[in-house]
């Protein structure tokens, strides 16, 4: 799954900064039918976790009420320079992950 993460290029220690993530995923509701009339099974990213400095900084439990190709924006406090690690799993059990380095300055 293609995923993109955006964080500011550098952040001051202690500052609150914006984190954005976009993942290519159909977030299939399970209520649609294909062109042959067969139901398309439900398959959404159900859990997404962001770890920063090894500890969970943000967690989302998503349902079919979140639009396809999910986009999330949230905030977190800049601690030490390091990686923001995202991992997620969908109903079919497929896992995805992506990371980005946060550059924290004094």
């Amino acid at each position: 799954m293609t995923a993109r993460i955006q964080v500011p290029r550098e952040v001051q220690r202690g500052a609150v900064f914006e984190v954005r993530i976009a993942i290519q995923h159909p977030m299939e509701t399970g209520f649609r039918y294909d062109l042959m009339g067969k139901p398309i099974p439900k398959n959404v990213i159900n859990t997404l976790v962001c770890r920063y400095g090894g500890a969970e900084a943000f967690r989302a439990e998503l349902g079919s009420g979140i639009a396809a190709n999910p986009y999330l924006q949230f905030y977190t406090v800049a601690e030490a320079s390091g990686d923001l690690e995202f991992s997620w799993v969908d109903d079919a059990g497929e896992r995805g992950s992506e990371r980005v380095t946060v550059n924290v300055v004094e």
């Binding site: 976009a22 977030m27 396809a68």
Partner: protein, 296 residues
């Protein structure tokens, strides 16, 4: 077809006949054969017609000053989505395309191996498509051209039409022309396609018995239910369409239009759709490429 619309096509038909004559036979000089005398008199009539016409070129119904991209008919939310390079869902396909550009998979040559860095080398390319392809003798869309590259130069199978990988490559290449004006070539090679597509544009089709022009030339700016009818240009494509919850090509959007008037949809990759795109690009030339676009 209404008489007024047919009349509008006459200058074009004469123009086509004139071009045909000019290409096949010399205007002046040569042996004084009957054929040449006929050619000379037809050419003379053409020159007279050209002098009498307000313009020698086929005229667009919507003049350049009144051209508006589909994005200008969209809501603030859709405009914001297209303008933000992170929130724009189409950028997920662009990013995927960038990866595919650099790595065709397996032992195959990648796009980069021949074309180099797309950011530099693909600038302006999308503005010229659909374009005539000498090898196949057909008008090809950008997607078809990418597949032609795969089969001819990379020894790879063509990517399925409207597949994520093909859309990704198309989005990535088209994005390198973002902001540049569409400028397709209508010349003696593309003129037959152009004329066929233009006739199609003004032809009533489907159970609703409507032509493209009924909505997009006669009624753009007015509303159908909650939507405002656009001028029907394709410069925003390939685009992420909220209705599809996915990224798609102009071909897909055109097929949707056919179904909208309850007409049979031409197949992906059909000459009809490629030629229609050529006509639309000519009709909307000057508008900027917006790929990856966002539409409702």
């Amino acid at each position: 077809m209404e008489p007024t619309k047919y009349a509008a096509l006459i200058p074009g038909l004469i123009r086509s006949a004139c071009i045909g004559v000019h290409r096949r036979l010399p205007l002046f000089g040569g042996a004084g054969s009957a054929r040449n005398r006929l050619a000379a008199s037809v050419a003379g009539a053409c020159l007279l017609h050209a002098a009498l016409s307000t313009a020698a070129e086929p005229q667009r119904k919507i003049p350049p000053s009144a051209l508006r991209s589909g994005i200008t008919f969209a809501s603030a939310d859709v405009r914001a989505l297209q303008a933000d390079d992170f929130e724009n869902p189409g950028m997920l396909w662009v990013e995927r395309g960038a990866k595919r550009w650099n790595d065709a998979g397996g032992a195959a040559k990648s796009c980069r191996d021949c074309h180099g860095d797309a950011v530099a080398r693909m600038k302006g390319v999308a503005t010229r498509y659909p374009a005539f392809d000498a090898a196949s003798g057909r008008v090809l869309t950008l997607d078809a051209r990418i597949n032609a590259c795969r089969t001819r130069h990379q020894s790879l199978d063509p990517l399925p039409l409207e597949s994520d990988d093909l859309l990704a490559l198309s989005a990535y290449v088209a994005k390198q022309s973002r902001g540049m004006p569409v400028e397709v070539t209508i010349d003696e090679r593309t003129m037959p396609s152009f004329e066929r597509a233009r006739a199609l544009y003004y032809r009533r089709i489907g159970q609703f018995n409507l032509s493209c022009a009924h909505c997009h030339e006669a009624n753009w700016g007015k509303r159908i239910y909650a939507e405002t009818v656009s001028q029907g240009h394709g410069n925003g494509y390939p685009a992420y369409r909220l209705e599809w919850q996915a990224f798609g090509s102009l071909e897909r959007r055109l097929r949707a239009c056919y179904s909208g008037v309850r007409a049979e949809m031409p197949d992906y990759g059909s000459a009809e759709l490629a030629e229609l795109q050529l006509f639309l690009s000519w009709r909307g030339r000057g508008l900027p490429v917006e790929a990856p676009g966002v539409r409702r």
